[in-house]
């Protein structure tokens, strides 16, 4: 349908013309394509280079159309062939191309979907996953250090980052000491940082007791290494804005820590 709407010539991927796409994304800035583009979209761009094709592939797009009769330089065709992308070229400029696609697709969806910047920002969570291995003291602390470095790079206030680091570190140590394995999910929105730590292990029989300062079930060896002084959970509580703990014996423990920005 895009081909007909734009009166475009197909440069590559004739056999894939019946592929359906969910959205059309128009931009010359490839970093925006990567940041905001949704998978299964079609890219409209004036950047007729390999870079555009690579970006489209990385953003999991279905194809690219080059505007104002532009044709990509060598290599782009082969690249798109290898990556199962459709490549087209139209004489229209970017605005006209978008308008034509919009009116051509009206039949399918009565209202064009308008996503405001605000909505987009809220959906634009940063979400990273990390694994923790129980009993692996040599690697203990790596996840919290990774999370810290991500937050520092984003540019959060260093005091806030430190609170996140301390809480995550304590939680990570708990997984290493007491559980078989665990998963950490860091999510960031413009309003909040959330760290979710879910482990599989023996769980905590009495959460209230575990929250008391100095209460510990760690072994002599762990304490010899400087861990397990019974300060972990109280310390987390002190450093978080919101803190939930949920534990089931013989299944595992889930911690949800929230930090307001």
């Amino acid at each position: 349908m895009i081909k007909e709407a734009l009166n475009a010539s197909v440069l590559e991927g004739v056999e894939r013309l019946d592929t359906s796409v969910e959205q059309v994304y128009a931009s010359d800035l490839m970093s925006d394509v990567l940041a905001f583009g949704k998978p299964n979209s079609f890219l409209v761009t004036g950047l007729a280079t390999q870079q555009a094709v690579i970006s489209a592939h990385m953003a999991e797009f279905k194809g690219v159309v080059f505007i104002r009769g532009k044709r990509p330089k060598d290599g782009a065709e082969k690249l798109s062939r290898d990556n199962q992308l459709v490549l087209m070229s139209t004489e229209l400029d970017m605005y006209d191309a978008c308008v034509r696609i919009n009116s051509a697709t009206r039949g399918d969806s009565p209202e064009p979907v308008v996503v405001t910047a605000q909505e987009q920002a809220e959906k634009m969570l940063l979400s990273n996953e990390f694994e923790i291995q129980g009993d692996d003291f040599a690697k203990a602390g790596i996840v919290s250090t990774d999370i810290k470095s991500i937050l520092k790079k984003i540019g959060f206030d260093s005091k806030l980052v430190r609170r996140v680091a301390i809480s995550t570190y304590e939680a990570e140590m708990n997984v290493v000491m007491h559980a078989d394995c665990g998963k950490v999910i860091l999510s960031v929105t413009p309003q909040m940082i959330e760290v979710l730590i879910k482990d599989q292990g023996k769980g905590i029989p009495d959460v209230e007791q575990a929250m008391q300062e100095g209460f510990t079930t760690s072994t002599e060896e762990m304490r010899a290494m400087g861990f397990g002084a019974g300060m972990g959970l109280p310390n987390i509580k002190r450093n978080t804005d919101e803190f939930e703990i949920d534990s089931e014996v013989a299944v595992g423990t889930t911690l949800r820590m929230k930090f307001n920005i």
Binding site: M30, S31, L34, A35, F36, T49, Q50, Q51, I54, S55, H57, M58, A59, L79, D82, N83, A121, M124, L125, L126, N128, G141, S144, T145, K148, I150, K152, K153, I154, G155, F156, S158, K159, V161, R162, A165, I166, T168, Y169, E170, V188, T189, P190, G226, N235, I261
Partner: protein
């Protein structure tokens, strides 16, 4: 951005685009673009790893010319204690003092007395201190910069006490001109440095308006002119020639010197930028709560492996220990005087050490979060083998560079040649 002074730079005529420096840099401050290395002024902490590692000697130190000191009527040299360790232990420290005099210096002053006084002041300071622990030594300027740049929230745990060399220079500048009947500007105090970070800390101090030193030269430069004199003097030297009032006070040159001098109990001494970064991460994560003080130095074994040295650090260490055993005069400290001076603020940095965080993204928080997400996306599409061919040290650094608009995806040889086969 000529904001930050650095004591070394890349000579583009000599640089052949080796990736050595890029891989060695502990703060990932170096990129090789268009066949030439470039050092980020913001991220460089002056450790000098690149300078030592460069196979084409293309990273050159910017050092003062020794002859520039001729404008002073009276010249005092303050050598880093490391300088002595560059000479065999059989060379009496007095010979080195004499050699400096033959070079045209009027006096040689060692930093040992100030070091002892500061060690005592540190113990006194820690008795009163109630803030977060552990405290971090302020001795190594490279580590101070590392903390400012990468661990901005830890600046408040850096001991705010000044370093022996500055205290020494200050004493000289304050007292000597009057004693000699000269104007303060007639007396020049020159430091002999084992590393570029010391040069920077004198040219652009992190914690004061200006250094008490008038100039700074590297051990390497001094060694080559000093050596012939040392050899000459040693030929006819007899121990009886050493005046009775000669004192050799040593100073802090090797890892552990500070903690030993201050006779600490709960201490750690860590050297090398990477090990130090691990310790600083631990401190940030609030591990090490039972440690009171960490001595952190940028170079393995301490300043004796600073990049401006000539001798192997292991040989230098042995030289240093042997010389101390033979010639060390214990520095005298007057506890009451130090306590009094400490109260008056005498030993403190003039200005607090402030954070110097790097802004990765020059955008508001929201956009930065998006950029970070984009970075993850780019990173996932890379081979993640850190080949370095794009000119960035790791695939993650490349992803960083891309989202900041400093690199093109096609700079990656894998993305440019062939899409990944899924």
């Amino acid at each position: 951005m000529a904001q930050y002074y650095h004591a070394h730079k890349v000579d583009p005529d000599l640089c052949r685009g080796h990736m050595t420096c890029m891989r060695l840099c502990p703060t990932q401050a170096i990129r090789v673009r268009n066949g030439t290395a470039g050092i980020s002024e913001e991220l460089c902490v002056d450790c000098g790893s690149c300078l030592v590692g460069c196979p084409s000697d293309a990273i050159v130190p910017i050092s003062d010319d020794v002859s520039e000191t001729s404008r002073f009527k009276y010249k005092v040299v303050v050598p880093s204690p490391v300088l002595y360790s560059q000479f065999e232990a059989s060379v009496h420290p007095y010979i080195i003092h004499l050699a400096f005099q033959e070079l045209g210096f009027d006096a040689v002053v060692d930093v040992g007395d100030s070091a002892e006084a500061l060690a005592f002041a540190l113990v006194e300071y820690m008795k009163e201190y109630t803030g977060p622990l552990p405290l971090i030594s302020s001795h190594c300027p490279s580590i101070i910069r590392l903390i400012q740049v990468k661990y901005p929230d830890l600046v408040e745990q850096v001991v705010p006490l000044d370093v022996p060399r500055e205290i020494t220079a200050r004493e000289i500048k304050k007292n000597l001109p009057a004693k000699l009947g000269l104007e303060p500007e007639d007396v020049g105090v020159i430091y002999v440095a084992p590393c570029p970070a010391r040069m920077v800390s004198i040219k652009q101090p992190a914690e004061k308006a200006s250094s008490w030193f008038d100039g700074v030269v590297s051990i390497k430069d001094v060694f080559s002119v000093l050596m012939p004199h040392v050899v000459g003097i040693k030929e006819t030297f007899k121990e009886s020639m050493v005046p009775d009032d000669f004192r050799f006070t040593g100073g802090w040159a090797t890892l552990g010197s500070i903690t030993r001098a201050a006779r600490m109990e709960n201490w750690l001494a860590v050297s090398g930028v990477h090990p130090v970064m691990r310790i600083l991460d631990d401190i940030e994560n609030s591990r090490l709560r039972n440690i009171d003080f960490v001595e952190v130095l940028a170079h393995m074994l301490g300043c004796i492996s600073g990049p401006f040295n000539v001798e192997s650090p292991y040989v230098a260490r042995a030289n240093g220990i042997k010389r101390m055993q033979k010639y060390l005069t214990k520095a005298e400290v007057d506890p009451d005087d130090i306590r009094k001076k400490l109260k008056e603020g005498y030993y403190f940095f003039e200005n607090p050490v402030l954070p110097r965080p790097t802004t990765y993204f020059d955008t508001d928080l929201e956009t930065s979060i998006k950029r970070m997400k984009e970075r993850e996306r780019v990173y996932r599409s890379l081979r993640q083998i850190d080949c370095g061919c794009c000119g960035a040290p790791t695939c993650m650094a490349f992803a960083d560079d891309f989202v900041r608009g400093e690199a093109k995806l096609t700079d990656c040889i894998f993305l440019a040649q062939q899409p990944d086969e899924k």
